[in-house]
Structures are given as structure tokens and as C-alpha cells.
């Protein structure tokens, strides 16, 4: 059964979050995690530009899509398969600024990889955050497999898999969606469509304007959502989660968004996009936009904002201080965990 792509309108009103079933506290918690993701990211760029760490890859601009979708899931029970930009997702799922900084400085204590992987390669079995390597789109198949296991064991966990629109060109993406469609798996494919894969624009990636239209070919719904509207992202994901828990299968969500920074600290985005374009999108900053809404709905007041800012700044400061001082791995650490048990040489 092919399903048509729906467009979700941002409905106005001053109590949108309440009509979505979010308490004021929950709405503020979403805001705080977005702020934290942004603040950690900004600090990483600063440190990178000072030459104190070699690499950063950014979530900036995409926090709405990330936290909005993750907020519709149950951390620790549901699963997420994030990609490298998804700081907002992993913070919502229980990682901390300190974890991020330990990974950024590649310290021994880095919970993702013990300093083995680049920053942005998240993973924690305890937190139900799937480990990711660098090859794009591989996680989509893993997510289908995780959801298959949930179905086999009759558990109600939902798995959300995140990826960029560029990654959608990989065969793995097609294979994962096809499998999830066949078996009506409780997977939510969340594409953070930021218009570019490094320098390559969407028009060189696919001949259609909406990736979500592909869902029809897999027999599940596709939804286009404004990725910079965090509440809209929450809403469509919640619908997808409910559908998945009812046993009706997968959903493809395409969150239209934009990355504010270059692809990574190794990229120069002036080579392929106009400064005006970036400036226009910065006007649509998902954090500022949400803050404006929260103020208008009288949820976010000056004292509350001040508290949040203090907490965020403190977490970033403490995380940075801690991680920068934390010990590196030792050369002996190179040889461990090639296998779960024993060594082969």
C-alpha cells in the first residue's frame, strides 16, 4: 500500500506544546538540550581553531530535528542509530557534555571508543545508542535488524535511525527501507535533509524534491517536516512512534533543515555555497525560533532563561576542563579489544 507524503504545517497558537501533550517542564527540557548541544559544539570549534584538538563535526542548525524527534522516544528503552551530527539525539538519550568532550579530545575515558574514533561517532550499549563508524548509511540496516529483534521478541521498542540526504543514495538505505517495509518493522527513518552532502547539492543526489516520496515505494508513509520547528518534529515523530507501537510499521520522516557550519573543520564551505544562503538560514535558527515561541507562551521567562544558560555554561566549562586534563590512552591500548576474548597475532 503506497502512502502519500504529508506535509505537516506548523500550527500557531501559544500552547502548541501543551496541545501536543508536553508539560511546560518537558518543553523547557527540550529547549535546554538544544542549547546544550549548540553550546558544546560552539566550544569545540573554539578549541579546534586554537589548535587544541584536530577535528570537529557539527550539529549546529539541526538541533530542532534532532531533539524534537528524540523527545518522542523513550531513552534507554527505545533505540537510536544516530549519525555524526546527532549531538541533540545522544544528549537526549543520556550522554553528557563530558562524554562529548572526552570523545572530542580522544581521551582514554571516551565512552564511545576509548579515543579510537573521531568525534561524532557515538555509541553506548547501555544507553541504546548504536555505535557508528564513518561509512554512511550502514546504520540504517542495523536499525532494521534491531527492530527485527524487537519484533521477534514481541517487545514494543521503537528504533529511530538518523541519516543525511546524501547517505540516502547508498544501496544500504534502499535495502533497509525495503526490509522494514516487508516486515512492518517499528523503525523510524529520520532524514536530516540539510541540502548538501559536503559540497554536493540535493539536486545532484536525487531527481525529486522530497526524499519522503520514496516511502511510497516501500509501503509506508513518508512525511516532510520543517526541521527547524522542533515541535513539528516532535509531533510527526510521535505519530510515527504510535504507529510503530501499534504494529503498523515504519515511517520515513524528512526534516528539511540546514547546517550552519562547514561540513567539518576540514571543509571550506565558501567553495560551494553563498554566504547569503547561510545567513538566510541562520535567521531560521531552530533554537531562537523555539525560544521565541516559549517566551510568547510564557513558558520561558528571564529567570528561567538565566538558569538554563548558567547550567549549560557550567556543564560545558566543567566538561572541557575535565576532558582536556583527562589522560590519553597508552600505546598498549592499541592492541586491546580486537576480539572480545583473547588475542590473535
Amino acid at each position: 500500500m503506497a502512502t502519500k507524503t504529508q506535509e505537516v504545517e506548523a500550527k500557531g497558537g501559544q500552547s502548541r506544546h501543551r496541545s501536543l501533550g508536553l508539560s511546560d517542564d518537558q518543553a523547557l527540557r527540550i529547549y535546554e538540550v538544544m542549547r546544550l548541544a549548540r553550546a558544546v559544539d560552539e566550544r569545540m570549534w573554539l578549541i579546534n581553531r586554537q589548535g587544541r584538538a584536530p577535528f570537529v563535526i557539527s550539529c549546529q542548525g539541526q538541533e530542532g530535528a534532532q531533539v524534537g524527534s528524540a523527545a518522542a522516544l523513550r531513552p534507554g528503552q527505545d533505540w537510536v542509530a544516530p549519525y555524526y551530527r546527532d549531538a541533540g539525539v545522544i544528549l537526549w538519550f543520556g550522554m553528557t557534555a563530558k562524554d562529548q568532550m572526552l570523545s572530542f579530545f580522544a581521551r582514554r575515558e571516551d565512552p564511545n571508543s576509548g579515543g579510537r574514533q573521531m568525534p561524532g561517532h557515538f555509541g553506548s550499549r547501555r544507553l541504546h545508542i548504536l555505535t557508528g563508524g564513518s561509512p554512511v548509511a550502514t546504520q540504517l540496516l542495523h536499525a532494521a535488524g534491531i527492530a527485527l529483534a524487537s519484533k521477534q521478541r514481541k517487545e514494543d521498542a521503537v528504533t529511530a535511525a538518523y541519516f543525511g540526504e546524501g547517505a540516502a543514495s547508498q544501496g544500504d538505505c534502499h535495502e533497509a527501507m525495503n526490509f522494514a517495509g516487508i516486515h512492518k518493522l517499528a523503525v523510524i527513518f529520520v532524514c536530516e535533509n540539510n541540502g548538501y552532502a559536503i559540497s554536493v547539492p540535493q539536486s545532484r543526489q536525487m531527481a525529486i524534491p522530497n526524499l519522503a516520496d520514496r516511502a511510497a515505494g516501500y509501503g509506508f508513509p513518508g512525511v516532510v517536516v520543517d526541521g527547524n520547528d522542533v515541535l513539528a518534529c516532535y509531533e510527526v515523530t510521535r505519530h510515527a512512534v504510535e504507529r510503530a507501537r501499534r504494529g503498523e510499521g515504519a515511517t520515513l520522516i524528512e526534516a528539511k533543515t540546514y547546517r550552519f557550519t562547514a561540513h567539518s573543520s576540514d571543509d571550506d564551505d565558501k567553495r560551494y555555497r553563498q554566504a547569503e544562503e547561510v545567513a538566510t538560514w541562520r535567521q531560521k535558527d531552530p533554537i531562537q525560533r523555539y525560544a521565541k515561541y516559549l517566551r510568547e507562551s510564557a513558558t520561558l521567562t528571564d529567570p528561567v532563561e538565566k538558569d538554563i544558560t548558567e547550567r549549560v555554561d557550567q556543564q560545558v566549562d566543567e566538561a572541557t576542563e575535565y576532558a582536556e586534563q583527562a589522560p590519553d590512552p597508552t600505546p598498549d591500548d592499541l592492541m586491546t579489544f580486537v576480539y572480545k576474548q583473547g588475542t590473535v597475532s
Binding site: A106, M118, R204, Q205, V338
Partner: protein, 327 residues
């Protein structure tokens, strides 16, 4: 002759081949407007247009598979894999298809195509931007594997690869891109595939290497000279077909051989080089064959301590070479 970097040599090589032969084209991720993530194709999109410098979708299987089809139909594609580490989605196309077209049709089809891929570490690239893939592909009959270490060889071998009737995996060590400078002859200087080169003559021992390790071995040879040890440095340049005659010649000349590579140890290129020497120069040996390689762990980690522990470097090569000299 002009001093150039490896990346400049590669860019010039592609440019000259595209100018010379309209059937040559480039396809890969970010190769167009951006000029490639390492700027290997900077300026080519403007010069040759979007039908000859193609920004592909983010799909390596697509890049190589489409290149195969174009090669069947009269073109000479250069397929760029952004990092060698991301060649895996194209493995099926390369190993099962490209490498077998000629054999499975008893020579009816052949594929004049180049697959370029930046490889190697020492750039904080971590597990997925540092890998060495030469041994994996050198094991596959039907493929040629080239790994130049100098600007002149990079340009000359790229030209040879483009003109070759068979699929060539052209490996560019990303650390050498801007680190290694050298003279590049003008004109149409083709370096033949399958020929190693003695980059420094010596009599006491031989260092055999390729890629970035060549640079380190030359450094080490200089240091050894200061201690009155005369080291010969053989640059393989082509991994497959490997230059057996050159390997055997240097082994017979010095009687002591150290093979160095950055790839992991088990079933690596060093093992093949050592087997060739055992088969063809055993009588000439004055010491056990030695090799210095990365250890058998899945890939090079990000943290600098671990990265350094993984990569062979000049100090370690020097140490090992002295051990060999003293044997």
C-alpha cells in the same frame, strides 16, 4: 624542471589526460564544484564541464558501476573514491565485476578505467580516513594496483593508468599530497606500470617500501649513511604486477632486506615480497628477511598516542634497519 607537490602532480596528470583524450572523464563525490575534498580536481569542472567532471551521488557502488558501463562503451573513466576507507560499498563492482570482465569473456571485454583513492594515515584521520587497502586488492587477479610515493611517479603512473586497457586501482597517500615535493618532468612523461625504482643506491642492506614509507626510508638511509651503513632504497611504485626482478636484484646485491609498510602485517605486501626473495634469492641472503608493519588491529585510531603506536615511522625503521645491519 619544476618542484611540485604530489597533489599538484595528480591534478596536472588528470588535466593533461583529459585534454589529450576526450574519452577521459572524472566521476566521484565532491569532485566538481568543490574540486574534490583534497582539491585534486580543482579547476577541472570549470575547464571540462559537468559532463566530464561529474559530482556523483554519495554511493561508491554507483561510481564504480557506472564507470564500468562507460568503459564498456568507449570511455576512459577515472572514478574517484573520496577516501580509500569508503571503497567497501564498491567492492562487489570492483572485485566481482571489473576484475573479472576480461577473464569471463575470454578477452572479449576489457575495462580501461582508473579508480583513484586517497589512502594511508598520519593525518588524525582515525579508523575510517587512514586505511591501507593495497593488500586486499592486490590479492585480486584482474586488477592492477599502483601506489606512487613521489610527484613525478604520481603523475607518470596516473598517465599510464589512464592509458592502460585494464582496471587500475591508483592509490594516493594523502599524507604525501602536500608533504612530498619533487621535480616533475615536463612533457608527456609516462611511468610504466609494473616497474619498481631504486631511489637510492646502497650496498649493506635494502629497504623496500612504497607510498609515505618511501619518504621515511629515504630519511633513514641518510641517517644510516652518517653511521657508515649504506642502505639501498627500492620504491615498489606498483604493487601489482609487482616487479620481481627489481626485488630479487636488490636482495642479491645487499643480502639483507627490510620491507616496510603501513598496512597491517598479516598477509600484507611484505609477506609477498619476502616470499619472492625466498624463492629467488635465498642463497644470497646474509640475514633473515625482516619486515616492519602496522600491527594487526582493525584500523588506525584517532588519538595521537594510538596513531603513533600504529604507524611505522623513521625512528622505528632506523632501529630495525640497525638491527638488520648488525646481524
Amino acid at each position: 624542471m619544476a618542484q611540485k607537490t604530489v597533489i599538484e602532480a595528480i591534478r596536472e596528470g588528470m588535466d593533461e589526460e583529459m585534454a589529450r583524450d576526450p574519452s577521459v572523464f572524472l566521476i566521484g563525490e565532491d569532485v566538481g564544484q568543490r574540486g574534490g575534498v583534497f582539491l585534486a580536481s580543482d579547476g577541472l569542472y570549470k575547464k571540462y564541464g559537468e559532463l566530464r567532471v561529474i559530482d556523483s551521488p554519495l554511493a561508491e557502488s554507483c561510481i564504480v558501476g557506472v564507470a564500468i558501463g562507460a568503459a564498456v562503451n568507449g570511455m576512459r573513466p577515472i572514478a574517484e573514491i573520496q577516501f580509500a576507507d569508503f571503497i567497501a560499498p564498491a567492492m562487489n563492482q570492483i572485485i566481482e565485476e571489473a576484475a573479472r570482465f576480461c577473464y569471463r569473456t575470454a578477452g572479449d571485454f576489457s575495462l580501461p578505467m582508473v579508480i583513484r583513492a586517497p589512502w594511508g594515515g598520519g593525518v588524525h584521520g582515525a579508523l575510517y580516513h587512514s586505511q591501507s587497502i593495497e593488500a586486499t586488492f592486490a590479492h585480486i587477479p584482474g586488477l592492477k594496483v599502483v601506489a606512487p610515493g613521489t610527484p613525478a611517479d604520481a603523475k607518470g603512473l596516473l598517465k599510464a593508468a589512464v592509458r592502460d586497457p585494464d582496471p587500475v586501482l591508483f592509490l594516493e597517500h594523502k599524507r604525501t599530497y602536500r608533504l612530498v615535493k619533487g621535480e616533475v618532468p615536463g612533457g608527456d612523461a609516462v611511468v610504466p606500470i609494473g616497474k619498481a625504482e631504486v631511489k637510492r643506491e646502497g650496498t649493506d642492506l635494502s629497504l623496500i617500501a612504497y607510498g609515505l614509507m618511501l619518504t621515511y626510508c629515504l630519511e633513514v638511509a641518510e641517517k644510516l649513511a652518517a653511521e657508515d651503513i649504506s642502505a639501498e632504497v627500492l620504491d615498489l611504485r606498483t604493487i601489482k604486477p609487482i616487479d620481481q626482478a627489481a626485488i630479487v636484484a636488490t636482495a642479491k646485491k645487499t643480502g639483507k632486506v627490510l620491507v616496510v609498510h603501513e598496512d597491517t602485517r598479516f598477509a600484507g605486501i611484505a609477506a609477498e615480497v619476502m616470499a619472492i626473495i625466498m624463492e629467488q634469492a635465498f642463497d644470497a641472503l646474509d640475514a633473515p628477511l625482516m619486515r616492519l608493519t602496522a600491527p594487526d588491529v582493525p584500523a588506525m585510531p584517532f588519538n595521537h598516542v594510538l596513531e603513533q603506536a600504529f604507524m611505522p615511522n623513521a625512528d622505528r625503521i632506523l632501529h630495525k634497519a640497525k638491527e638488520l645491519a648488525a646481524y
